[in-house]
């Protein structure tokens, strides 16, 4: 298939991701996929792809990419000083790259992960139904590893739709990545926290520790005291906040362990997972308890923002 982009510099940690392999969890394989699924979906829709097509997830600093074939791209998620041949270009917008054009990621202003979609989708190894890279098993995406200089990115399929640049998601519909208030629902084992720990959990300030990756984030700030017998292991979910002995909470993310036996004291709501997925070591955050009804309203409002990406695709074409 057509090679469209050459990786000149890979960035710190750039991987191929899609919406993951949710069916693999019953076999013990993490669901994987984009940490910020809103940004991933929006990028795809802005170039006319299906929302689950594979793209690039770029952590902390972005790659330098050169177009070896003309293509339509969109960069969403973390806010970088994006440039094509040195000229600033907007994020959350379809951009046409001509042959030889050079896309660079400059200073990062907010968020930790940017998403690059290419019209036609990024090609990669498919594993258990997904192109998402899973490093521990060295499977999926670019041969199960992060990108390196010299890699060539091909299209998953020849793009047949009209190539239209300039489709944009308005700023007011984008997640507010600078606000690190993470909304969560009390977890199955919330009663194992004493009153003081509970008020720390929902109200205290936490910081993402250096032990933070696609599997999850260990949080500094407060130790949470849990009581009770050891639990029998059970299936976990992304967004779960588990508290091991020792009391340092862990927020589980896309490549999380599929089962465990530590108390789960809260779970981040789906509408807050995009913001959670943007966090990096050193970022501060706080959890706010919400109801299932509030979580539903927020989920619907994000869904309507994605619908706006689709609508802009239609009006632009």
């Amino acid at each position: 298939m057509t090679v469209v982009l050459r990786v000149v510099e890979p960035g710190l940690f750039t991987t191929v991701q899609d919406l993951g392999r949710p069916n693999a969890i019953s076999a013990g394989v993490p669901p994987g996929g984009a940490m910020d699924r809103f940004a991933h979906r929006a990028a795809n829709l802005l170039v006319g792809n299906a929302e689950g097509d594979a793209g690039l997830e770029c952590t902390l600093n972005g790659p330098t990419l050169v177009a070896v074939h003309s293509c339509l791209v969109a960069i969403t998620g973390a806010d970088f000083d994006l440039r094509v041949n040195g000229q600033p270009v907007p994020g959350w917008t379809g951009i046409f790259l001509g042959m030889g054009d050079r896309l660079t990621f400059g200073a990062r202003r907010s968020g930790g992960r940017a998403y690059v979609a290419v019209a036609g989708g990024v090609a990669g190894d498919r594993w258990l139904g997904s192109l998402s890279t899973y490093m521990l098993a060295a499977r999926g995406g670019m041969h199960g590893r992060n990108l390196k200089a010299g890699d060539e990115i091909s299209l998953a399929r020849e793009f047949v739709g009209p190539v239209v640049s300039g489709r944009q998601l308005p700023e007011r519909l984008r997640p507010r990545y600078a606000d690190h208030t993470i909304l969560a629902i009390a977890g199955p084992h919330i009663k194992r926290l004493d009153a003081e720990s509970r008020s720390m959990l929902f109200g205290g300030e936490f910081k993402v520790s250096r032990e933070a990756d696609r599997m999850g984030y260990r949080l500094d700030g407060h130790r949470l005291a849990t009581s009770g017998d050891e639990l029998l292991s059970f299936g976990l979910a992304a967004g779960a906040v588990q508290v091991p002995r020792g009391g340092q909470p862990i927020l589980l993310m896309a490549d999380h362990q599929t089962a465990g036996g530590y108390p789960v004291v809260a779970t981040v709501v789906s509408a807050s997972m995009p913001v959670a997925g943007q966090l990096l070591p050193g970022d501060d955050l706080r959890f706010a308890e919400v109801s299932l009804e509030r979580a539903r309203q927020m989920r619907l409002s994000l869904a309507s923002a994605l619908a706006a990406c689709r609508a802009s695709s239609m009006t632009a074409s």
Partner: protein, 222 residues
């Protein structure tokens, strides 16, 4: 004739808890118990057939249910789970039986034997005697929680977990045993090793074991 066991056992009371807005945990009990695990697996299988359920994972005595929040709610699914759990579970087919060779020369074998006041040979003998049940598949790819371990071998986890456990290590902790599929950190006692691969990345599903399978270890020299 005595009635079949499943009739004598009352249906467990189910409690559900939200795991965020797109998943829930349905807890059937808090004991390590084959009958509860059988019910959990049956409930997970029954729920998986529903259109509003995306995926289920059976735990020891609980089911984690990932659902489509556009098609159902926590309350509606809870009501459905209670109805399903009240039914008598289908008679469980005996799971597949795996025979796994173990070289009983793990780095913790001597210490485990000393703490249990047994000889290393006796530890190996006791470990390879039962036919274990696969209670739960998960944690890392290829990992399966097997049990129950004979009471004589029961030990709490190591105080300081190892940062790296070699793949293929056969380990025990509490009333459980398992095989490390990948080099990962781990706090269990390593009593042996096996050449059998439990994580099969190029197969679908990629785990050798399924929940409900049976596993028999036997002592081997390689």
């Amino acid at each position: 004739m005595p009635p079949p066991r499943s009739i004598r056992r009352p249906a467990p009371r189910v409690r559900t808890y939200p795991l965020g807005d797109t998943a829930l945990l349905a807890e059937l009990g808090t004991r390590l118990d084959t009958a509860l695990n059988t019910r959990a697996i049956a409930l997970a299988t029954a729920l998986k057939k529903r259109r509003d359920v995306r995926q289920t994972v059976a735990g020891y005595a609980a089911v984690t249910v990932h659902f489509d929040p556009d098609q159902t709610t926590h309350e509606a699914l809870t009501a459905a789970i209670k109805r399903l759990a009240a039914k008598r579970p289908p008679m469980e087919e005996p799971g597949r039986l795996h025979r796994i060779p173990v070289v009983y020369e793990g780095p913790d074998l001597e210490e485990v034997a000393a703490r249990l006041r047994l000889t290393p040979e006796r530890v190996a003998e006791l470990h390879s005697k039962p036919i274990y049940r696969v209670f739960l598949v998960g944690f890392v790819p290829g990992w399966a929680y097997l049990g129950p371990l004979p009471e004589e071998l029961e030990l709490p986890r190591r105080h300081v977990p190892r940062t790296q456990v070699p793949a293929g290590s056969v380990a025990i902790a509490g009333r459980q045993t398992g095989i490390y599929p990948l080099p990962t950190p781990g706090g269990w006692h390593l009593i042996g090793r096996t050449s059998i691969k439990t994580f099969l990345p190029d197969r679908d599903p990629p785990c050798l074991f399924r929940a409900g399978d049976r596993v028999k270890f036997f002592s081997s020299t390689r």
